[in-house]
């Protein structure tokens, strides 16, 4: 734990235990989503050529990156990840993104993906609202993740016919243009 790092957040008026619950729930949601997106990506056969598969892969790897970036902050603040992965999955802040009953139905697949991203946007908006002006490091991290989740939603909603995302593909799969600077322990 980073003692003073936690202390200054507490002194700023944040309930750090409550914040940690949110961060752990967010990290768990990223981890489970990474798992489920692996299945979704594998099953996205021939949707828009391989176009959908590519953006699921970007979102999948970036969600893993979000987990990687969140974990150190949880420990800095005196929190921890569950020793039991089953318990960890149960506290995930967003529902599981199951493969649809008919994996050949692209609309059903996209609905799962876009709803997962929308949930993530809500999760990080809450964390940003809670930490803005008080916990600068968590805020900066949550905002970086939020940027990427918003882009993910736009990618998938574009395929649902909700209008252009305005984006182009990542330079490399799962590049994490906003979050990568927080991934100090990983080779980028």
């Amino acid at each position: 734990m980073a003692k003073v790092a936690r202390q200054v957040v507490e002194q700023a008026g944040i309930n750090v235990d409550q914040l940690l619950e949110k961060l752990v729930a967010a990290a768990a949601a990223e981890f489970t989503t990474y798992y489920y997106y692996t299945i979704l990506r594998i099953n996205s056969i021939g949707f828009d050529g391989e176009g959908l598969k590519e953006i699921i892969e970007d979102a999948r790897i970036e969600d893993r990156n979000h987990f990687e970036a969140l974990a150190p902050r949880i420990y800095e603040l005196g929190g921890k990840l569950s020793r039991d992965i089953r318990e960890f999955a149960d506290v995930a802040g967003c529902p599981d993104a199951y493969l649809p009953a008919d994996p050949r139905n692209v609309q059903e697949m996209l609905k799962v993906l876009v709803e997962a991203e929308r949930c993530a946007i809500r999760v990080y908006t809450e964390i940003c609202n809670m930490t803005a002006g008080k916990d600068h490091r968590t805020y900066s991290l949550a905002l970086a993740v939020l940027h990427e989740e918003i882009e993910h939603e736009a990618w998938f909603s574009e395929f649902l016919g909700e209008g252009p995302s305005g984006h182009f593909r990542r330079e490399t799969p799962g590049q994490s243009p906003y979050v990568s600077r927080f991934m100090t322990a990983m080779q980028k």
């Binding site: 802040g93 967003c94 529902p95 649809p100 009953a101 949930c119 809500r122 999760v123 809450e126």
Partner: protein, 137 residues
């Protein structure tokens, strides 16, 4: 004749549009909300895992639980997410997406009244008769 009993729980001026207020009804915490001048009431605990819905956020006509971000239509209590994306071939998941208990509301002057739920020992409130059991005004 058995009649449903409504009790005053708040006044209109106490809940500005888009706001949430928790009230007590027969030792149950109930959340009251004002959606553009229409009032709705529902159980304060998320049916998924008991999350505190009074701390949730309103998204149009849905209340979102802060714990796992399940969303419920406040007008009907129906789970609108993730029930909408849970696969039909995994029916056991339906246990996680049960409906939120909603309460009937009456506005009388400036008072907000809620219908009392069936008392202990009453059968499942599927029918009007069950809901009316033991209720007199």
């Amino acid at each position: 004749m058995k009649r449903k009993r409504f009790v005053k729980v708040a006044e209109i001026g106490q809940i500005p549009p888009g706001q949430i207020k928790t009230v007590n009804l027969q030792d149950q915490n109930v959340v009251l909300i004002n959606l553009g001048g229409s009032y709705f009431a529902f159980d304060a605990r998320c049916p998924h895992q008991g999350g505190p819905l009074a701390e949730g956020t309103l998204c149009e006509e849905a209340i979102q639980c802060p714990w796992h971000h399940h969303r419920y239509d406040v007008r009907t209590g129906q789970n609108v997410y993730p029930k909408n994306v849970y696969p039909a071939d995994m029916p056991w998941l339906l246990e996680q997406v049960g409906s939120l208990q909603v309460y009937r509301i009456k506005i009388k002057g400036a008072d907000i009244l809620l219908e009392e739920p069936p008392g202990p020992g009453c059968p499942s409130p599927d029918g009007e008769a069950a809901q009316d059991a033991g209720k007199t005004e």
